[in-house]
Symmetry: C2
Subunit: 389 residues, 2 copies
């Protein structure tokens, strides 16, 4: 096990009706005038935004608004938000939505206090040291941004989708999590969220670090719970407990508890970010295509942990490592298929793949070589993209 430092100070307020505590929670973190950030309609249509505004009003919190955040959120909305925060002397942000909304709020929170262009943080020119405090009302369990110090933003002009990670500065102060809000999510969105949270765990699980039984077992346990509850939701999308377990698993998948003391991987995320920057595919759907392809290539390069995944997560009973690994990947893809997730680039609507461009974009964003479990050079990366056909 490697040395580590870990602190996850986010307060999670979880369960039925908890969105009505939002105003009180904003008060407790000391904010007086916040910016409410949300998406393109469903939070408005469902009445959630009105309930949150009522809760803020009850607590005497003033607010301004930034709405219309899209999936794969872009730099233009961040700049718009920073301008408003500065003009209106906002002292905190409340994100009501899923990962795209939360990640936009985080970029605004950091950018408002920074004397320069916020993209400096994403292109590696500057490090986030300070940010306005952020609260979250979560509506889509997937990205895990409600419990992480991370943010992913796409630069439209550069066609680059970049992720940053901070230890503390961008961790939300609180996350309000009512699984009832997810009962009406369409299955395609539920399924993409499940693939996303599984990928967050697997990027930590497929580590070269030895002697990490505790975090291995945490990862495997969470994956097993997600698979069980994901199957339940295909049959019965109204099952509150399954929604609740999926929502809480999505947070634990990405708040860092699965990565303590181990080097992490993140190749499959990098492979997918290239696709969603070029084609605007749903991140979780892209991961359902990218991760099994990466695992298949790894089975030929370093099968041991892929085999352990098959045996411990999908109960594969095969002694040979490569065979156990391949059977595990098969069962993972069968699970994704059961969720009606895409399995190939074609399923994602990418009918004209330019494998050379995908490969060069990946290494432009990530560097060469990239990866801890097995370092990828362009010749490896191109094969993995071809395995997605």
């Amino acid at each position: 096990m490697d040395n580590f430092s870990y602190q996850s100070p986010t307060r999670y307020v979880f369960g039925k009706g908890v969105e009505n505590q939002t105003g009180k929670l904003v008060n407790e973190i000391g904010c007086k005038k916040i910016m409410l950030v949300y998406g393109r309609g469903s939070a408005v249509k469902s009445g959630l935004i009105d309930r949150v505004k009522a809760s803020l009003a009850d607590a005497g919190i003033k607010f301004t608004e930034l709405s219309g955040i899209c999936p794969n959120p872009t730099d233009d909305k961040v700049r718009e938000g920073i301008d408003i925060c500065r003009a209106e002397n906002v002292d905190g942000l409340l994100a009501v939505g899923g990962g795209s909304v939360i990640d936009t709020a985080k970029a605004i929170a950091a950018g408002t206090l920074y004397n320069g262009d916020f993209w400096d943080f994403y292109c590696g020119k500057a490090i986030v040291k300070d940010a306005l405090p952020i609260g979250v009302v979560l509506t889509i369990p997937a990205a895990g941004s409600e419990g992480s110090g991370n943010s992913v933003i796409t630069n439209s002009a550069l066609k680059q989708k970049i992720s940053i990670r901070t230890d503390y500065a961008l961790r939300p102060k609180f996350a309000v999590m009512n699984p009832e809000l997810t009962l009406t999510l369409p299955m395609s969105q539920t399924a993409a969220g499940i693939a996303d949270m599984m990928a967050h765990i697997m990027e930590r699980y497929f580590s070269p670090t030895e002697g990490v039984e505790t975090t291995d077992r945490l990862c495997e346990g969470l994956l097993k719970a997600i698979i069980t509850e994901g199957r339940t939701l295909v049959e019965n999308p109204d099952n509150y407990d399954a929604r609740a377990n999926i929502m809480w698993s999505g947070t634990l998948a990405h708040n860092g508890i699965c990565g303590c003391g181990r080097r992490e991987e993140w190749s499959a995320h990098g492979l997918e970010h290239v696709l969603s920057a070029l084609y605007d595919v749903t991140h979780g759907a892209g991961l359902a295509v990218a991760f099994p392809a990466w695992m298949t290539y790894m089975t030929h390069k370093n099968p041991s942990k892929i085999a352990q995944f098959g045996r411990r997560v999908f109960d594969v009973d095969i002694e040979n490592d490569r065979e156990a690994a391949m059977e595990g990947i098969k069962r993972l893809r069968e699970f994704f298929k059961y969720l009606s997730l895409p399995l190939t680039l074609g399923d994602l609507g990418i009918t004209d793949p330019d494998f050379g461009k995908f490969t060069s974009d990946f290494h432009r964003d990530k560097g060469t070589p990239w990866g801890n479990y097995y370092p990828l050079y362009p010749s490896d990366t191109e094969i993995i993209y071809r395995l997605m056909q």
Copy 2:
């Protein structure tokens, strides 16, 4: 799943050599003059206290000292500590040791700021709302106090051992955790610690709350890791990674992450607290006797979760719930025996058990009935104590 609120803001600094960061960490939580609290010798003999003092001196932190804390720590040391803290205007505490030292420091931290006798918190007359900040350098993985808001103190005159739990006030600000410090722990102490951390998980696992697959799987995963690494340490006590996994598991067992959204149990702890208040037995050793006895009785009252424990933690392949439960308990006791833990009251040196007194003391401390998984009345409780023979 039940509604919950969860916040674990403790910063964990984990790995080889991290005790040398102690002074810097005390500085970061804003303390200028602390009280250093430790035990009866091993932390001094090993040179740890000297290294911690050097780290404090390097960081310009002044300190006073309270040493000689014993296992099953008592109220007299707490009162001594409170008097010193008040007289010397101490603004924080640093506990160097295991659960007894940390729990004493917590009681002092709360008592110093309280206008009355600190025992009010333990006997239920008052609630801890504020406390001096606490840092920890952990030397014994067992109690999980480094990551919890809990404290257990024995009142010598009353022969009562009482546990309190706070949401935030008593959670340490930081915990310095170097598994190397545990390489020289005798196997008896290692084993008692393992029983203690397993019991912390199992008190949360044996819940009547339905629909908690995520936390069920977390509990089972941690238990499996502890069993694997516990077996490794019997063969090879010098295995750093096994020591590290045990240490980190002990924290996760009790920092609340295993209990989110579920009612908890705590009967076995209550049964054991009676024994250690009367006979001063090691807490973990007492739990190795008490927990299987409680589980055996539950197998006859409500076998479902005991059976799930057998199947998922010890891979029992039996369809009938009662048989699966009993086989799981048998394997748990075999594991405890492998660790050379006691299995009966006689093994604990209790040769003259007064079952009537045990039972009345249990219900005096806990109330009647006690228990969520299955409520215990005195007639139930006495049978469980008799099953410990």
